[in-house]
């Protein structure tokens, strides 16, 4: 057994996390910053942080993840990291020539209390930031929240640094997509384009972290939201904010700063969450929903009506991030499945509130935990097993030990491809999810059925 020490006997733990379902803030900030065009993320701390974040993001995307570090030594930890950051800024602009450096902090620089805004101001005053270039930052202490929080903080500070309001409102809306894949951001843009809606989507990692093989390493790939686009976000008619944990802080900041009203929705994963997304786009802009999109919806519903018998009553365990798990769980309920165990490592009572709204009637016995870990999820599964496990790659150890079909979903996915290229959001993404769910369920039925009842047509 791979996880041979896990038993069904649950003992209360107050201090020990075992097999986390979260990681730390800075990696989220690094991912978000990669969604700005010609941006070099910068990790202000020990070089190990930057190395770990780059490695994890690289394994997940199989793409170059370029980021720099302040390379703290013991001396900088005692005397503060100002000199390291100033030197970094100057070296980065000279050697790597980005348009923008997005600095995030680490537990080290947060604990010693480096004031990044002040250091950036000093860099500016010292002439270390070339004309037309920018340095922004987000505070991302690793001991608060999770990677999700770090993403949210960096996105919020894109607003704080760049969004401007003039008297002129633009015929455009902002979409803050939340922590989703490049393919998901691309899909959101395809949907709004199909509706004829002009958008500023930020951050946008499409064409950054799914760059083509061309025989040339483009240090700054063509994708990413541009600074001029970000600046105009203050003049947009509205903001659609997807995911309360990852996007809402930025949407609220934009409202406070530039009076751009926001609509807080779930990430459009599954049928009803996508319905709300499209309906809101229609309501906010008055744009008609083209037949193309209505037809896509119809196709998705068609698959569900055709195959509903296979979903019905299947018990599912899930681990992941709140903003994904909420609409995904809702989708499973739509399908008639039983999401019985749900764990996120990210702290936040709001997660359990939303889950209870979704599950109270459909799955009254469901167990749900924020600030939980995958050890607990495994113990629940040991107590009473499930038909399907959905989670990031670490779930495969549980899936193998317990012999449960497994669908990779979330971050990080270290052992398969596809997640960065094919969407999970929208109706097209929904069709992909349905295919994955059905393949997992039907493959299992094929492998487990008696020879006499082995089905050709299913």
């Amino acid at each position: 057994m791979l996880l041979r020490h896990t038993t069904d006997k649950i003992q209360e733990r107050k201090a020990l996390v075992v097999n986390p379902a979260k990681t730390c803030q800075p990696i989220g900030a690094m991912y978000a910053a990669l969604g700005i065009h010609r941006c070099l993320p910068h990790s202000h701390g020990s070089q190990g942080c930057c190395s770990y974040h780059r490695s994890t993001l690289t394994r997940h995307y199989r793409e170059p993840i370029m980021a720099a570090t302040s390379s703290f030594t013991e001396g900088s930890s005692v005397f503060g990291g100002q000199a390291n950051l100033l030197e970094s800024i100057s070296n980065i602009f000279t050697v790597y020539d980005p348009d923008i450096i997005a600095v995030h902090t680490t537990c080290l620089s947060e604990t010693i209390g480096d004031d990044i805004a002040q250091i950036i101001a000093k860099a500016q005053a010292d002439g270390k930031i070339p004309e037309g270039k920018s340095v922004i930052h987000a505070n991302t202490p690793s001991y608060v929240g999770s990677h999700v929080t770090g993403f949210a903080n960096m996105v919020k500070n894109m607003v704080m640094y760049f969004s401007k309001s003039s008297d002129l409102k633009r015929e455009q809306i902002n979409i803050i997509p939340g922590w989703v894949e490049p393919a998901d951001m691309r899909e959101m843009k395809r949907l709004t384009t199909a509706m004829g809606i002009k958008t500023v989507l930020f951050p946008d990692t499409s064409d950054v972290l799914d760059a083509p093989q061309t025989g040339r390493h483009q240090f700054y790939p063509k994708g990413g939201v541009t600074i001029p686009q970000l600046q105009t976000s203050g003049d947009s008619k509205a903001t659609i904010s997807l995911g309360e944990f990852t996007s809402l802080p930025a949407a609220k900041a934009l409202d406070a700063k530039c009076k751009v009203p926001f609509h807080s929705l779930d990430i459009p994963i599954g049928l009803t969450a996508t319905d709300r997304f499209i309906q809101t786009l229609h309501d906010v802009t008055g744009a008609a929903v083209p037949d193309e999109i209505t037809d896509e919806r119809g196709k998705m519903v068609d698959i569900i009506t055709d195959m509903q018998q296979y979903f019905y009553g299947k018990r599912v365990a899930l681990a992941g991030d709140p903003d994904q798990l909420i609409p995904l769980t809702e989708f499973l309920v739509t399908l008639g499945m039983q999401p019985v165990y749900i764990v996120t490592g990210t702290p936040g009572k709001r997660f359990e509130e939303r889950m209870s709204e979704i599950l109270t009637d459909a799955v009254p016995d469901a167990k749900c935990k924020q600030a939980g870990d995958m050890f607990l999820l495994h113990q629940w599964i040991k107590q009473e097993s499930v038909d399907l496990l959905i989670g990031n790659t670490y779930g495969k150890y549980i899936a193998r030990d317990e012999d449960i079909p497994f669908i990779r979903f979330g971050f990080p996915i270290l052992d398969r491809v596809g997640h960065s290229y094919l969407p999970n959001v929208g109706y097209a993404g929904g069709i992909r999810l349905l295919e994955k769910l059905l393949n997992a369920i039907l493959d299992r039925q094929d492998s487990m059925s008696l020879e006499e009842s082995f089905e050709l047509v299913m």
């Binding site: 057994m1 996880l3 041979r4 020490h5 003992q11 733990r13 107050k14 201090a15 020990l16 996390v17 075992v18 097999n19 986390p20 979260k22 990681t23 730390c24 803030q25 800075p26 701390g45 020990s46 070089q47 190990g48 942080c49 190395s51 770990y52 490695s55 994890t56 690289t58 394994r59 199989r62 170059p64 993840i65 370029m66 720099a68 570090t69 390379s71 030594t73 001396g75 930890s77 950051l85 030197e87 970094s88 100057s90 070296n91 000279t94 050697v95 790597y96 537990c107 080290l108 604990t111 010693i112 001991y143 608060v144 093989q213 061309t214 025989g215 040339r216 390493h217 050890f375 670490y394």
Partner: protein, 542 residues
Amino acid sequence: MPTNRRLTPEEIKQNLLAAYPVKVARKRAKHIVINDPTPETMPEIGANVRTIPGIITQRGCTYAGCKGVVLGPTRDIVNITHGPIGCGFYSWLTRRNQTRPTSDDDDNYMTYCFSTDMSEENIVFGGEKRLKQAIQEAYDIFKPKAIGIFSTCPVGLIGDDVHAVAKEMKEKLGINIFGFSCEGYKGVSQSAGHHIANNQLFKHVIGTDDTPSDGKYRINLLGEYNIGGDSFEIERILSKCGIDLVATFSGNSNYDAFANSHMADLNVIMCHRSINYVAEMMETKYGIPWIKANFIGAKSTAKSLRKIAQYFEDQELIERVEQVIAEEMQEVDRVQGAAKARCMDKTAMLFVGGSRAHHYQDLFAEIGMKTVCAGYEFGHRDDYEGRRVLQSIKVDADSRSIEEIHVTQDPDKHNPRKTPEELESLQAKGVSFKDYQGLMIDMDENTLIIDDISHYEMEKLLDTYKPAVLCGGIKEKYAVQKMGIPCKQLHNYDYSGPYAGFKGAINFYTDIDQMVNTRIWKLITAPWQAHPELIATFAKEA
């Protein structure tokens, strides 16, 4: 137009430095040397000094070297990361250390990640209470035989005394508990973490179990981490030769083997950088000599086996080793010949680790490939220039804070395995003790040696040399491949391996052959991009 190949090494070096600010160029110049393999005239290389902030580096931190590299591969110690969640998460199963529990009941915690997941409250008020609680919970749930505690950056800053907590909990619970002050900001790279790990293993584990071990030829293997099953292959070969492995530091290892490792009669070092400290300390305290070996490359494997056999001065073993080598080399020669035919005269660049950039050159040479540039991520001068320069290495402020344990002969357990005369006679026969000659002596004159290479330098060098393959790590992998050049990861072997020993050599030949000769590299350009004039003509006609 003159091609880049005609540039002299000095010109290439100057090109690498040209884009840097003056101060950076001055510092980096010391880390880029043009090789002269003659010891007397070998240039000095700048190494094991701090990385310049903002210059994108391959390096990681002390925690990674301690928890990730050295202690990571041991299966039955519960390793608790004391800090916010990230460090524990990132070092969870990501190094491909394989392990083989001896039975279903044998402990294996390597698939687990344990963390105190410190919150803001712990940073403000201290985390010792939480750490104690976490240790108690780990004990209550798992009942392990030992617990290690690994400090992350904020732990050192807020002043948590992990060693005091370890001592207290050790007394309370009656199992071995020990801490590592491996905060990420210490030292200049992973290397400091290796040293800290060595120290604590030596202080708290090695030599705590005096049970005499079986076997006639008892060795420890040091600095072999069982990436992709390397240790399994070495174990297979040693066992075939009749050589007994008491402990491996630390591939496929367990706590009890560490505790008993001072009962071995020879320490055989693979990765000099990460583990030489333990070898040195064991020699002083217990009288166990150490030799440098290398099981990467078929020839090197054979050479290392012969060296071990010679050490024991036993004809039976010497003959057995020769027999094993002859047997194993048959298949090696067959595959090597086939790969060589397709890889001959291609070039490689290696920028990785603290020994791999050296060892893997042997494997490339075996299939006719030449290494044109190489360098370590976290090596020291002795790993480049050889241990002969040890005395002349200046210890700077960043390294001075890493503890040097003062070791003396153990009055009861010191037992010189060889007399000074025996050692001298072996030395005369070519078994060199306490010696590592480094990478530069084995590389050609005028090759470029680059320490702690920056991303900028690496891309520039790829443009200049256009090698058939670059060996690096995960952070380099896809940037290199985007340039149309295959990148072989030598930390994780691209999820292949083993690469050690005879079977490992065969795997490596096959993998490199496949990698440099696969058709896809020739298909990167779309047909219409390859012949744009045809499209233009067509458009004009239309």
